[in-house]
Protein backbone atom coordinates (compact mmCIF):
# COMPACT_ATOMS: atom_id res chain seq x y z
CA UNK A 1 0.00 0.00 0.00
CA UNK A 2 1.32 3.40 -0.97
CA UNK A 3 0.24 6.14 1.43
CA UNK A 4 1.32 9.00 -0.86
CA UNK A 5 -1.80 8.44 -2.96
CA UNK A 6 -4.27 9.76 -0.40
CA UNK A 7 -2.38 13.03 0.21
CA UNK A 8 -3.58 14.99 -2.87
CA UNK A 9 -7.13 14.48 -1.60
CA UNK A 10 -6.43 14.85 2.10
CA UNK A 11 -4.42 18.06 1.92
CA UNK A 12 -7.07 20.31 0.28
CA UNK A 13 -9.77 18.55 2.31
CA UNK A 14 -8.04 19.73 5.50
CA UNK A 15 -6.98 23.17 4.28
CA UNK A 16 -10.42 24.12 2.90
CA UNK A 17 -12.36 23.95 6.21
CA UNK A 18 -9.39 25.51 7.99
CA UNK A 19 -9.65 28.52 5.68
CA UNK A 20 -13.44 28.62 5.93
CA UNK A 21 -13.56 28.33 9.72
CA UNK A 22 -10.36 29.77 11.17
CA UNK A 23 -9.02 32.45 8.86
CA UNK A 24 -12.05 33.61 6.89
CA UNK A 25 -11.74 37.20 8.09
CA UNK A 26 -8.06 37.49 7.32
CA UNK A 27 -7.55 37.59 3.58
CA UNK A 28 -3.74 37.54 3.87
CA UNK A 29 -3.75 34.35 5.93
CA UNK A 30 -6.35 32.76 3.66
CA UNK A 31 -4.21 33.56 0.61
CA UNK A 32 -1.12 32.20 2.34
CA UNK A 33 -2.78 28.91 3.27
CA UNK A 34 -4.39 28.57 -0.15
CA UNK A 35 -1.15 29.21 -2.04
CA UNK A 36 0.82 26.95 0.30
CA UNK A 37 -1.68 24.16 -0.23
CA UNK A 38 -1.68 24.58 -4.01
CA UNK A 39 2.13 24.67 -4.03
CA UNK A 40 2.34 21.55 -1.89
CA UNK A 41 -0.14 19.85 -4.22
CA UNK A 42 2.17 20.63 -7.12
CA UNK A 43 5.12 19.14 -5.24
CA UNK A 44 3.01 16.09 -4.32
CA UNK A 45 1.89 15.78 -7.93
CA UNK A 46 5.50 15.81 -9.12
CA UNK A 47 6.50 13.18 -6.52
CA UNK A 48 3.60 10.96 -7.60
CA UNK A 49 4.49 11.64 -11.24
CA UNK A 50 8.03 10.42 -10.61
CA UNK A 51 6.63 7.31 -8.89
CA UNK A 52 4.16 6.55 -11.68
CA UNK A 53 6.79 7.14 -14.36
CA UNK A 54 8.52 3.96 -13.16
CA UNK A 55 5.68 2.10 -14.83
CA UNK A 56 4.20 0.34 -11.81
CA UNK A 57 0.49 0.89 -11.08
CA UNK A 58 0.19 1.95 -7.44
CA UNK A 59 -2.90 1.39 -5.32
CA UNK A 60 -4.16 2.58 -1.95
CA UNK A 61 -7.02 0.72 -0.25
CA UNK A 62 -9.04 3.13 1.90
CA UNK A 63 -9.47 1.77 5.41
CA UNK A 64 -7.38 -1.23 4.28
CA UNK A 65 -10.50 -2.95 2.93
CA UNK A 66 -9.56 -5.40 0.19
CA UNK A 67 -10.15 -4.19 -3.35
CA UNK A 68 -13.54 -5.23 -4.71
CA UNK A 69 -15.23 -4.54 -1.36
CA UNK A 70 -13.52 -1.35 -0.26
CA UNK A 71 -12.72 1.73 -2.30
CA UNK A 72 -9.31 1.91 -3.93
CA UNK A 73 -7.27 4.81 -5.21
CA UNK A 74 -5.18 3.93 -8.23
CA UNK A 75 -2.25 5.83 -9.68
CA UNK A 76 -1.03 5.16 -13.18
CA UNK A 77 0.79 7.42 -15.62
CA UNK A 78 -2.39 9.12 -16.85
CA UNK A 79 -3.65 9.89 -13.32
CA UNK A 80 -0.25 11.28 -12.35
CA UNK A 81 -0.19 13.50 -15.43
CA UNK A 82 -3.66 14.85 -14.62
CA UNK A 83 -2.66 15.53 -10.99
CA UNK A 84 0.35 17.59 -12.07
CA UNK A 85 -1.73 19.46 -14.64
CA UNK A 86 -4.45 20.24 -12.08
CA UNK A 87 -2.02 21.43 -9.43
CA UNK A 88 -0.03 23.49 -11.93
CA UNK A 89 -3.10 25.21 -13.33
CA UNK A 90 -4.46 25.65 -9.79
CA UNK A 91 -1.27 27.44 -8.65
CA UNK A 92 -1.29 29.79 -11.62
CA UNK A 93 -4.99 30.61 -11.33
CA UNK A 94 -4.54 31.29 -7.63
CA UNK A 95 -1.65 33.65 -8.39
CA UNK A 96 -3.99 35.50 -10.72
CA UNK A 97 -6.91 35.53 -8.30
CA UNK A 98 -5.04 36.89 -5.27
CA UNK A 99 -4.57 40.23 -6.95
CA UNK A 100 -8.22 41.09 -6.31
CA UNK A 101 -10.70 38.55 -7.64
CA UNK A 102 -10.75 36.56 -4.41
CA UNK A 103 -12.18 39.52 -2.47
CA UNK A 104 -15.24 40.03 -4.66
CA UNK A 105 -17.21 37.39 -2.77
CA UNK A 106 -17.01 35.14 0.25
CA UNK A 107 -15.14 31.86 0.68
CA UNK A 108 -13.19 31.95 -2.55
CA UNK A 109 -10.17 30.12 -1.17
CA UNK A 110 -11.99 27.33 0.65
CA UNK A 111 -14.19 26.62 -2.39
CA UNK A 112 -11.06 26.64 -4.51
CA UNK A 113 -9.43 24.02 -2.28
CA UNK A 114 -12.57 21.86 -2.34
CA UNK A 115 -12.52 22.11 -6.12
CA UNK A 116 -8.93 20.87 -6.20
CA UNK A 117 -9.86 18.07 -3.83
CA UNK A 118 -12.71 16.92 -6.08
CA UNK A 119 -10.50 17.07 -9.18
CA UNK A 120 -7.69 15.10 -7.55
CA UNK A 121 -10.15 12.54 -6.23
CA UNK A 122 -11.77 12.05 -9.63
CA UNK A 123 -8.36 11.46 -11.19
CA UNK A 124 -7.26 8.98 -8.52
CA UNK A 125 -10.30 6.86 -7.72
CA UNK A 126 -10.70 3.33 -8.98
CA UNK A 127 -14.38 2.96 -8.08
CA UNK A 128 -17.30 4.09 -10.19
CA UNK A 129 -19.54 5.28 -7.37
CA UNK A 130 -16.61 7.04 -5.76
CA UNK A 131 -16.07 8.77 -9.10
CA UNK A 132 -19.67 10.02 -8.84
CA UNK A 133 -19.01 11.32 -5.33
CA UNK A 134 -15.86 13.18 -6.40
CA UNK A 135 -17.74 14.55 -9.41
CA UNK A 136 -20.26 15.96 -6.95
CA UNK A 137 -17.51 17.39 -4.72
CA UNK A 138 -15.94 19.23 -7.61
CA UNK A 139 -19.31 20.31 -9.00
CA UNK A 140 -20.59 21.66 -5.68
CA UNK A 141 -17.40 23.67 -5.29
CA UNK A 142 -17.71 24.85 -8.88
CA UNK A 143 -21.32 26.04 -8.30
CA UNK A 144 -19.99 28.29 -5.56
CA UNK A 145 -17.05 29.51 -7.62
CA UNK A 146 -19.19 30.02 -10.72
CA UNK A 147 -21.34 32.65 -9.01
CA UNK A 148 -18.42 34.14 -7.07
CA UNK A 149 -18.77 37.89 -7.10
CA UNK A 150 -22.46 37.79 -8.02
CA UNK A 151 -24.22 39.89 -10.63
CA UNK A 152 -27.57 39.15 -12.25
CA UNK A 153 -26.31 37.54 -15.45
CA UNK A 154 -23.72 35.46 -13.65
CA UNK A 155 -26.23 34.04 -11.18
CA UNK A 156 -28.67 33.28 -14.00
CA UNK A 157 -25.93 31.48 -15.93
CA UNK A 158 -25.08 29.72 -12.67
CA UNK A 159 -28.65 28.43 -12.28
CA UNK A 160 -28.48 27.02 -15.78
CA UNK A 161 -25.13 25.39 -15.06
CA UNK A 162 -26.45 23.79 -11.86
CA UNK A 163 -29.60 22.47 -13.58
CA UNK A 164 -27.62 20.87 -16.42
CA UNK A 165 -25.21 19.25 -14.02
CA UNK A 166 -27.95 18.00 -11.69
CA UNK A 167 -29.60 16.27 -14.63
CA UNK A 168 -26.16 14.88 -15.48
CA UNK A 169 -25.74 13.57 -11.94
CA UNK A 170 -29.15 11.90 -12.17
CA UNK A 171 -28.13 10.13 -15.37
CA UNK A 172 -24.83 9.13 -13.76
CA UNK A 173 -26.73 7.48 -10.89
CA UNK A 174 -29.03 5.62 -13.28
CA UNK A 175 -26.01 4.34 -15.20
CA UNK A 176 -24.24 3.31 -11.99
CA UNK A 177 -27.42 1.56 -10.80
CA UNK A 178 -27.76 -0.35 -14.08
CA UNK A 179 -24.14 -1.46 -14.06
CA UNK A 180 -24.41 -2.57 -10.44
CA UNK A 181 -27.66 -4.40 -11.11
CA UNK A 182 -26.11 -6.31 -14.00
CA UNK A 183 -22.62 -7.03 -12.68
CA UNK A 184 -22.91 -6.73 -8.88
CA UNK A 185 -19.80 -4.58 -8.51
CA UNK A 186 -18.71 -0.97 -8.96
CA UNK A 187 -14.96 -1.38 -8.61
CA UNK A 188 -13.62 -0.51 -12.07
CA UNK A 189 -11.08 -3.32 -12.17
CA UNK A 190 -13.66 -5.84 -10.97
CA UNK A 191 -16.20 -4.48 -13.48
CA UNK A 192 -13.65 -4.90 -16.26
CA UNK A 193 -13.39 -8.58 -15.34
CA UNK A 194 -17.12 -9.17 -15.15
CA UNK A 195 -18.36 -7.20 -18.18
CA UNK A 196 -17.32 -9.86 -20.73
CA UNK A 197 -19.17 -12.53 -18.70
CA UNK A 198 -22.52 -10.73 -18.53
CA UNK A 199 -25.23 -13.15 -19.78
CA UNK A 200 -26.78 -12.34 -23.13
CA UNK A 201 -30.14 -11.53 -21.55
CA UNK A 202 -28.62 -8.69 -19.51
CA UNK A 203 -26.50 -7.41 -22.37
CA UNK A 204 -28.99 -4.71 -23.38
CA UNK A 205 -29.09 -3.31 -19.84
CA UNK A 206 -25.30 -3.24 -19.74
CA UNK A 207 -25.15 -1.37 -23.03
CA UNK A 208 -27.72 1.17 -21.86
CA UNK A 209 -25.62 1.73 -18.74
CA UNK A 210 -22.43 2.11 -20.75
CA UNK A 211 -23.95 4.60 -23.17
CA UNK A 212 -25.60 6.60 -20.37
CA UNK A 213 -22.14 6.91 -18.79
CA UNK A 214 -20.83 8.17 -22.12
CA UNK A 215 -23.59 10.79 -22.16
CA UNK A 216 -22.76 11.89 -18.60
CA UNK A 217 -19.05 12.23 -19.36
CA UNK A 218 -20.05 13.92 -22.61
CA UNK A 219 -21.90 16.60 -20.64
CA UNK A 220 -18.75 17.26 -18.62
CA UNK A 221 -16.59 17.22 -21.74
CA UNK A 222 -18.99 19.51 -23.65
CA UNK A 223 -19.58 16.96 -26.40
CA UNK A 224 -22.31 17.65 -28.98
CA UNK A 225 -25.31 17.36 -28.45
CA UNK A 226 -24.79 18.28 -24.79
CA UNK A 227 -22.30 21.11 -25.24
CA UNK A 228 -24.82 23.95 -25.07
CA UNK A 229 -24.20 24.78 -21.40
CA UNK A 230 -20.53 25.60 -21.82
CA UNK A 231 -20.44 28.99 -23.59
CA UNK A 232 -23.00 30.51 -21.21
CA UNK A 233 -21.22 29.17 -18.16
CA UNK A 234 -17.63 29.92 -19.10
CA UNK A 235 -18.33 33.33 -20.57
CA UNK A 236 -20.16 34.46 -17.42
CA UNK A 237 -17.95 32.79 -14.81
CA UNK A 238 -15.29 34.91 -13.11
CA UNK A 239 -12.21 34.80 -15.35
CA UNK A 240 -9.85 32.92 -13.01
CA UNK A 241 -12.60 30.36 -12.46
CA UNK A 242 -13.18 29.98 -16.19
CA UNK A 243 -9.45 29.34 -16.47
CA UNK A 244 -9.68 26.68 -13.76
CA UNK A 245 -12.72 25.20 -15.51
CA UNK A 246 -10.39 24.50 -18.45
CA UNK A 247 -9.45 21.39 -16.48
CA UNK A 248 -13.11 20.52 -15.74
CA UNK A 249 -13.90 19.59 -19.35
CA UNK A 250 -10.78 17.44 -19.21
CA UNK A 251 -12.32 15.52 -16.28
CA UNK A 252 -14.99 14.37 -18.73
CA UNK A 253 -12.34 13.41 -21.29
CA UNK A 254 -10.31 11.63 -18.60
CA UNK A 255 -13.36 9.65 -17.45
CA UNK A 256 -14.17 8.61 -21.02
CA UNK A 257 -10.58 7.48 -21.53
CA UNK A 258 -10.46 5.63 -18.21
CA UNK A 259 -13.82 3.87 -18.37
CA UNK A 260 -13.80 2.96 -22.04
CA UNK A 261 -10.26 1.64 -22.09
CA UNK A 262 -10.57 -0.26 -18.82
CA UNK A 263 -14.16 -1.32 -18.14
CA UNK A 264 -15.63 -1.43 -21.62
CA UNK A 265 -12.21 -1.55 -23.16
CA UNK A 266 -11.20 -2.88 -26.53
CA UNK A 267 -9.79 -5.84 -24.66
CA UNK A 268 -10.39 -9.55 -25.19
CA UNK A 269 -14.12 -9.33 -25.94
CA UNK A 270 -14.56 -7.82 -29.38
CA UNK A 271 -18.19 -6.86 -28.73
CA UNK A 272 -17.19 -4.63 -25.82
CA UNK A 273 -15.05 -2.33 -27.94
CA UNK A 274 -18.10 -1.16 -29.86
CA UNK A 275 -19.54 0.64 -26.82
CA UNK A 276 -18.11 4.11 -27.23
CA UNK A 277 -16.23 4.33 -30.53
CA UNK A 278 -19.12 4.46 -33.03
CA UNK A 279 -20.89 7.18 -31.04
CA UNK A 280 -17.91 9.13 -29.86
CA UNK A 281 -16.22 9.77 -33.20
CA UNK A 282 -19.14 11.43 -35.07
CA UNK A 283 -20.11 13.38 -31.95
CA UNK A 284 -16.54 14.59 -31.52
CA UNK A 285 -16.29 15.70 -35.15
CA UNK A 286 -19.55 17.64 -34.94
CA UNK A 287 -18.32 19.16 -31.66
CA UNK A 288 -15.18 20.32 -33.43
CA UNK A 289 -17.20 21.94 -36.21
CA UNK A 290 -19.72 23.57 -33.85
CA UNK A 291 -16.93 24.91 -31.64
CA UNK A 292 -14.96 26.52 -34.44
CA UNK A 293 -18.07 27.93 -36.13
CA UNK A 294 -18.86 29.44 -32.73
CA UNK A 295 -15.40 31.05 -32.66
CA UNK A 296 -16.22 32.64 -35.99
CA UNK A 297 -19.61 33.91 -34.83
CA UNK A 298 -18.78 35.05 -31.29
CA UNK A 299 -19.57 38.63 -30.31
CA UNK A 300 -17.32 38.77 -27.26
CA UNK A 301 -13.85 37.47 -26.60
CA UNK A 302 -14.92 35.33 -23.62
CA UNK A 303 -17.53 33.67 -25.79
CA UNK A 304 -14.94 33.10 -28.50
CA UNK A 305 -12.55 31.36 -26.12
CA UNK A 306 -15.43 29.25 -24.76
CA UNK A 307 -16.27 28.03 -28.24
CA UNK A 308 -12.57 27.40 -28.87
CA UNK A 309 -12.63 25.17 -25.78
CA UNK A 310 -15.54 23.22 -27.29
CA UNK A 311 -13.61 22.91 -30.55
CA UNK A 312 -10.50 21.68 -28.77
CA UNK A 313 -12.58 19.09 -26.89
CA UNK A 314 -13.82 17.90 -30.30
CA UNK A 315 -10.27 17.50 -31.59
CA UNK A 316 -9.23 15.73 -28.42
CA UNK A 317 -12.16 13.31 -28.35
CA UNK A 318 -11.93 12.56 -32.08
CA UNK A 319 -8.44 11.23 -31.40
CA UNK A 320 -9.59 9.39 -28.27
CA UNK A 321 -12.50 7.79 -30.17
CA UNK A 322 -10.14 5.73 -32.32
CA UNK A 323 -8.94 3.84 -29.23
CA UNK A 324 -5.49 3.07 -30.55
CA UNK A 325 -2.34 3.69 -28.44
CA UNK A 326 -0.86 6.12 -31.01
CA UNK A 327 -4.01 8.24 -31.28
CA UNK A 328 -4.39 8.17 -27.48
CA UNK A 329 -0.84 9.47 -26.97
CA UNK A 330 -1.54 12.28 -29.44
CA UNK A 331 -4.84 13.04 -27.67
CA UNK A 332 -3.08 13.25 -24.31
CA UNK A 333 -0.53 15.69 -25.71
CA UNK A 334 -3.37 17.79 -27.07
CA UNK A 335 -5.11 17.57 -23.69
CA UNK A 336 -2.10 19.09 -21.90
CA UNK A 337 -1.76 21.77 -24.54
CA UNK A 338 -5.43 22.77 -24.70
CA UNK A 339 -5.72 23.01 -20.90
CA UNK A 340 -2.82 25.46 -20.73
CA UNK A 341 -3.95 27.42 -23.80
CA UNK A 342 -7.55 27.77 -22.65
CA UNK A 343 -6.42 28.79 -19.14
CA UNK A 344 -4.11 31.46 -20.57
CA UNK A 345 -6.75 32.83 -22.95
CA UNK A 346 -9.42 33.13 -20.24
CA UNK A 347 -7.00 35.09 -18.06
CA UNK A 348 -6.13 37.35 -21.02
CA UNK A 349 -9.85 37.99 -21.62
CA UNK A 350 -10.09 39.19 -18.03
CA UNK A 351 -6.99 41.40 -18.30
CA UNK A 352 -8.66 43.00 -21.29
CA UNK A 353 -12.14 43.50 -19.91
CA UNK A 354 -10.77 44.91 -16.61
CA UNK A 355 -9.10 47.65 -18.61
CA UNK A 356 -12.06 48.57 -20.80
CA UNK A 357 -14.78 49.67 -18.38
CA UNK A 358 -18.11 49.85 -20.17
CA UNK A 359 -16.90 47.80 -23.12
CA UNK A 360 -15.76 44.66 -21.34
CA UNK A 361 -14.66 41.89 -23.67
CA UNK A 362 -17.15 42.61 -26.45
CA UNK A 363 -15.64 42.73 -29.92
CA UNK A 364 -16.11 46.45 -30.37
CA UNK A 365 -13.63 49.16 -31.12
CA UNK A 366 -12.74 51.16 -28.01
CA UNK A 367 -10.04 53.63 -27.00
CA UNK A 368 -6.57 52.49 -26.04
CA UNK A 369 -6.03 51.01 -22.60
CA UNK A 370 -3.12 50.50 -20.25
CA UNK A 371 -0.56 47.78 -21.07
CA UNK A 372 -2.31 47.28 -24.43
CA UNK A 373 0.83 46.11 -26.20
CA UNK A 374 1.66 43.49 -23.60
CA UNK A 375 -1.87 42.11 -23.58
CA UNK A 376 -1.98 42.08 -27.37
CA UNK A 377 1.27 40.11 -27.43
CA UNK A 378 -0.03 37.59 -24.89
CA UNK A 379 -3.29 37.23 -26.83
CA UNK A 380 -1.34 36.72 -30.04
CA UNK A 381 0.67 33.89 -28.47
CA UNK A 382 -2.41 32.31 -26.88
CA UNK A 383 -4.45 32.53 -30.07
CA UNK A 384 -1.63 30.97 -32.12
CA UNK A 385 -1.49 28.10 -29.66
CA UNK A 386 -5.26 27.65 -29.55
CA UNK A 387 -5.74 27.78 -33.31
CA UNK A 388 -2.93 25.28 -33.82
CA UNK A 389 -0.46 27.34 -35.83
CA UNK A 390 3.29 26.83 -35.63
CA UNK A 391 5.48 27.32 -33.67
CA UNK A 392 3.53 26.60 -30.45
CA UNK A 393 2.29 23.32 -29.03
CA UNK A 394 -1.16 23.42 -30.68
CA UNK A 395 0.53 22.81 -34.01
CA UNK A 396 2.49 19.83 -32.68
CA UNK A 397 -0.65 18.44 -31.02
CA UNK A 398 -2.69 18.62 -34.20
CA UNK A 399 0.21 17.21 -36.23
CA UNK A 400 0.46 14.24 -33.85
CA UNK A 401 -3.28 13.63 -34.10
CA UNK A 402 -3.30 13.87 -37.91
CA UNK A 403 -0.36 11.48 -38.04
CA UNK A 404 -2.02 9.00 -35.65
CA UNK A 405 -5.33 8.82 -37.54
CA UNK A 406 -3.81 8.03 -40.92
CA UNK A 407 -4.72 4.34 -40.66
CA UNK A 408 -8.23 4.94 -39.31
CA UNK A 409 -11.34 4.24 -41.44
CA UNK A 410 -12.54 7.86 -41.18
CA UNK A 411 -9.10 9.32 -41.75
CA UNK A 412 -9.95 11.62 -44.65
CA UNK A 413 -13.00 13.08 -42.87
CA UNK A 414 -10.96 13.70 -39.72
CA UNK A 415 -8.16 15.35 -41.72
CA UNK A 416 -10.54 17.62 -43.60
CA UNK A 417 -12.41 18.64 -40.48
CA UNK A 418 -9.33 19.28 -38.32
CA UNK A 419 -7.56 21.29 -41.02
CA UNK A 420 -10.72 23.13 -42.10
CA UNK A 421 -11.72 24.07 -38.58
CA UNK A 422 -8.16 25.22 -37.85
CA UNK A 423 -8.65 27.74 -40.64
CA UNK A 424 -11.97 28.82 -39.10
CA UNK A 425 -10.21 29.21 -35.76
CA UNK A 426 -7.43 31.30 -37.27
CA UNK A 427 -9.93 33.58 -39.03
CA UNK A 428 -12.01 33.94 -35.87
CA UNK A 429 -9.10 34.80 -33.62
CA UNK A 430 -7.56 37.10 -36.23
CA UNK A 431 -10.85 38.97 -36.51
CA UNK A 432 -11.12 39.27 -32.74
CA UNK A 433 -7.52 40.35 -32.29
CA UNK A 434 -7.55 42.93 -35.07
CA UNK A 435 -10.80 44.49 -33.78
CA UNK A 436 -9.64 44.64 -30.19
CA UNK A 437 -6.02 45.65 -30.65
CA UNK A 438 -5.36 47.12 -34.10
CA UNK A 439 -8.56 49.03 -34.84
CA UNK A 440 -8.75 50.20 -31.25
CA UNK A 441 -5.22 51.60 -31.55
CA UNK A 442 -6.49 54.15 -34.08
CA UNK A 443 -9.29 55.42 -31.83
CA UNK A 444 -8.40 58.69 -30.10
CA UNK A 445 -8.40 58.93 -26.32
CA UNK A 446 -7.35 56.65 -23.53
CA UNK A 447 -8.96 54.73 -20.74
CA UNK A 448 -7.79 55.76 -17.30
CA UNK A 449 -5.05 53.43 -16.10
CA UNK A 450 -7.40 52.48 -13.28
CA UNK A 451 -6.52 50.45 -10.23
CA UNK A 452 -5.98 47.20 -12.09
CA UNK A 453 -2.85 45.65 -10.61
CA UNK A 454 -0.12 45.03 -13.15
CA UNK A 455 2.22 42.53 -11.48
CA UNK A 456 0.85 39.14 -10.53
CA UNK A 457 -1.81 38.73 -13.25
CA UNK A 458 0.85 39.11 -15.93
CA UNK A 459 3.10 36.65 -14.11
CA UNK A 460 0.22 34.14 -14.12
CA UNK A 461 -0.48 34.57 -17.84
CA UNK A 462 3.25 34.45 -18.52
CA UNK A 463 3.57 31.17 -16.61
CA UNK A 464 0.80 29.54 -18.66
CA UNK A 465 2.33 30.76 -21.93
CA UNK A 466 5.71 29.54 -20.69
CA UNK A 467 4.06 26.17 -20.08
CA UNK A 468 2.98 26.12 -23.72
CA UNK A 469 6.50 26.97 -24.83
CA UNK A 470 7.92 24.24 -22.59
CA UNK A 471 5.42 21.74 -24.00
CA UNK A 472 6.69 22.72 -27.45
CA UNK A 473 10.41 22.66 -26.68
CA UNK A 474 10.25 19.43 -24.68
CA UNK A 475 7.69 17.79 -26.98
CA UNK A 476 10.07 14.86 -27.48
CA UNK A 477 10.40 13.73 -23.84
CA UNK A 478 6.72 14.58 -23.19
CA UNK A 479 5.43 12.46 -26.07
CA UNK A 480 7.81 9.70 -24.95
CA UNK A 481 6.10 9.69 -21.56
CA UNK A 482 2.62 9.96 -23.12
CA UNK A 483 3.35 7.01 -25.41
CA UNK A 484 4.11 4.98 -22.31
CA UNK A 485 0.95 6.29 -20.61
CA UNK A 486 -1.17 5.31 -23.62
CA UNK A 487 0.44 1.87 -23.81
CA UNK A 488 -0.36 1.41 -20.13
CA UNK A 489 -4.00 2.34 -20.79
CA UNK A 490 -4.29 -0.39 -23.39
CA UNK A 491 -2.98 -3.06 -21.02
CA UNK A 492 -5.99 -3.24 -18.70
CA UNK A 493 -4.86 -6.65 -17.43
CA UNK A 494 -2.02 -5.01 -15.49
CA UNK A 495 -4.38 -2.45 -13.95
CA UNK A 496 -6.78 -5.20 -12.90
CA UNK A 497 -3.95 -7.28 -11.49
CA UNK A 498 -2.56 -4.31 -9.55
CA UNK A 499 -5.94 -3.53 -7.97
CA UNK A 500 -7.26 -6.99 -7.24
CA UNK A 501 -4.10 -8.69 -5.99
CA UNK A 502 -4.85 -7.22 -2.57
CA UNK A 503 -7.46 -9.95 -2.17
CA UNK A 504 -4.65 -12.33 -1.32
CA UNK A 505 -3.27 -10.12 1.46
CA UNK A 506 -0.72 -7.32 1.35
CA UNK A 507 1.47 -5.40 3.71
Amino acid sequence: MNHWLILPILLPALVAPLIALAVRHDIVLARTFSLLSAGLLLVLGLILFAMAAQGEILTYALGNWAAPFGIVLVLDRLSALMLVLTAGLGCVVLLYAISGWDQRGAHFHSLFQFQLMGLNGAFLTGDLFNLFVFFEVLLIASYGLMVHGGGAMRVRAGVQYVVVNLVGSTLFLIAVGLLYGVTGTLNMADLAQRVPDVPAGDRALLEVGALLLLLVFGIKAALVPVQFWLPGTYAHAPAPIAALFAIMTKVGAYSIIRVYTLVFGPGESAAASTFAGPWLLPAALVTLLVGMLGVLGARALGQMVSFAVIGSMGTLLAAVALFTPEAMAAALYYLVHSTLAAGALFLIVDLLSERRPGYGDTLTVAPRFAQGGLIAGAFFAGAIAMAGMPPLSGFIGKLLILDAVREAPWASTIWILILGTSLLGIIGFARGGSTLFWKSASVPGNFQAGQAAAGLPFVAVGLLLAGLVLATVFAGPLTGFLDQAATQLFEPARYIEAVLRRETGGD
Partner: protein, 117 residues
Protein backbone atom coordinates in the same frame (compact mmCIF):
# COMPACT_ATOMS: atom_id res chain seq x y z
CA UNK B 1 -44.36 -5.38 -6.18
CA UNK B 2 -42.00 -5.22 -9.18
CA UNK B 3 -44.77 -3.66 -11.26
CA UNK B 4 -45.59 -1.13 -8.55
CA UNK B 5 -41.96 -0.03 -8.12
CA UNK B 6 -41.24 0.02 -11.85
CA UNK B 7 -44.29 2.10 -12.65
CA UNK B 8 -43.58 4.46 -9.73
CA UNK B 9 -40.05 5.05 -11.03
CA UNK B 10 -41.39 5.50 -14.55
CA UNK B 11 -44.10 7.96 -13.55
CA UNK B 12 -41.76 10.06 -11.43
CA UNK B 13 -39.14 10.16 -14.20
CA UNK B 14 -41.80 11.12 -16.74
CA UNK B 15 -43.16 13.93 -14.61
CA UNK B 16 -39.63 14.99 -13.70
CA UNK B 17 -38.46 15.25 -17.30
CA UNK B 18 -41.58 17.21 -18.25
CA UNK B 19 -41.05 19.67 -15.41
CA UNK B 20 -37.30 20.06 -16.05
CA UNK B 21 -38.08 21.13 -19.61
CA UNK B 22 -40.33 23.99 -18.40
CA UNK B 23 -39.14 27.57 -18.72
CA UNK B 24 -39.49 28.82 -15.15
CA UNK B 25 -37.26 27.94 -12.25
CA UNK B 26 -39.92 26.64 -9.85
CA UNK B 27 -41.15 23.76 -12.07
CA UNK B 28 -37.54 22.96 -12.95
CA UNK B 29 -36.60 22.66 -9.28
CA UNK B 30 -39.64 20.43 -8.66
CA UNK B 31 -38.70 18.35 -11.69
CA UNK B 32 -35.16 17.88 -10.43
CA UNK B 33 -36.53 16.80 -7.06
CA UNK B 34 -38.86 14.27 -8.72
CA UNK B 35 -36.01 12.95 -10.87
CA UNK B 36 -33.84 12.46 -7.81
CA UNK B 37 -36.65 10.56 -6.03
CA UNK B 38 -37.04 8.34 -9.08
CA UNK B 39 -33.31 7.67 -9.16
CA UNK B 40 -33.22 6.85 -5.46
CA UNK B 41 -35.97 4.27 -5.77
CA UNK B 42 -34.34 2.90 -8.91
CA UNK B 43 -30.94 2.52 -7.22
CA UNK B 44 -32.63 0.82 -4.30
CA UNK B 45 -34.36 -1.66 -6.61
CA UNK B 46 -31.08 -2.47 -8.34
CA UNK B 47 -30.10 -4.54 -5.29
CA UNK B 48 -33.12 -6.76 -6.14
CA UNK B 49 -36.40 -6.53 -4.27
CA UNK B 50 -36.52 -8.73 -1.18
CA UNK B 51 -39.00 -8.61 1.70
CA UNK B 52 -38.07 -9.25 5.29
CA UNK B 53 -34.53 -10.44 4.58
CA UNK B 54 -31.39 -9.76 6.61
CA UNK B 55 -28.84 -7.33 5.20
CA UNK B 56 -26.05 -8.49 7.55
CA UNK B 57 -24.77 -12.00 8.09
CA UNK B 58 -26.86 -13.83 10.67
CA UNK B 59 -26.89 -17.55 11.53
CA UNK B 60 -30.71 -17.70 11.52
CA UNK B 61 -31.18 -15.93 8.18
CA UNK B 62 -32.82 -17.77 5.31
CA UNK B 63 -31.65 -15.32 2.67
CA UNK B 64 -30.08 -11.90 2.34
CA UNK B 65 -30.91 -8.58 0.81
CA UNK B 66 -28.10 -6.56 -0.78
CA UNK B 67 -26.96 -3.81 1.64
CA UNK B 68 -24.74 -1.96 -0.83
CA UNK B 69 -27.46 -0.17 -2.86
CA UNK B 70 -28.93 1.01 0.45
CA UNK B 71 -25.61 2.65 1.28
CA UNK B 72 -25.45 4.13 -2.24
CA UNK B 73 -28.98 5.49 -1.93
CA UNK B 74 -28.13 7.12 1.38
CA UNK B 75 -25.23 8.95 -0.27
CA UNK B 76 -27.38 9.89 -3.26
CA UNK B 77 -30.17 11.21 -1.00
CA UNK B 78 -27.78 13.40 0.97
CA UNK B 79 -26.24 14.82 -2.21
CA UNK B 80 -29.54 15.43 -4.01
CA UNK B 81 -31.09 17.02 -0.91
CA UNK B 82 -28.14 19.38 -0.59
CA UNK B 83 -28.21 20.21 -4.28
CA UNK B 84 -31.94 20.98 -4.20
CA UNK B 85 -31.26 23.47 -1.42
CA UNK B 86 -28.44 25.05 -3.42
CA UNK B 87 -30.50 25.43 -6.56
CA UNK B 88 -33.43 26.93 -4.65
CA UNK B 89 -31.14 29.56 -3.15
CA UNK B 90 -29.49 30.29 -6.49
CA UNK B 91 -32.82 30.51 -8.32
CA UNK B 92 -34.14 32.91 -5.67
CA UNK B 93 -31.03 35.04 -5.92
CA UNK B 94 -31.25 35.11 -9.70
CA UNK B 95 -34.90 36.13 -9.50
CA UNK B 96 -34.25 38.88 -6.97
CA UNK B 97 -31.32 40.28 -8.93
CA UNK B 98 -32.83 40.23 -12.41
CA UNK B 99 -36.61 40.34 -11.74
CA UNK B 100 -36.98 37.39 -14.09
CA UNK B 101 -37.83 33.83 -13.22
CA UNK B 102 -36.96 32.01 -16.44
CA UNK B 103 -34.01 29.66 -16.80
CA UNK B 104 -32.88 30.93 -20.20
CA UNK B 105 -30.13 33.56 -20.37
CA UNK B 106 -31.95 36.01 -22.62
CA UNK B 107 -30.33 38.72 -24.68
CA UNK B 108 -31.48 41.93 -23.01
CA UNK B 109 -28.62 42.54 -20.59
CA UNK B 110 -25.07 42.88 -21.90
CA UNK B 111 -22.80 40.07 -20.62
CA UNK B 112 -20.61 40.93 -17.67
CA UNK B 113 -23.15 43.36 -16.25
CA UNK B 114 -21.62 46.49 -17.82
CA UNK B 115 -23.78 49.44 -16.82
CA UNK B 116 -22.83 51.97 -19.48
CA UNK B 117 -23.10 51.65 -23.28
Amino acid sequence: MEFLIASAVGMMTMAGIYLVLRGHTFPVVLGLALLSYAVNVFLFAMGRLAIGQQPVIDAAATGYTDPLPQALVLTAIVISFGMTAVIVVMALRAYLESERDTVDLGEEEPPGGGAQQ
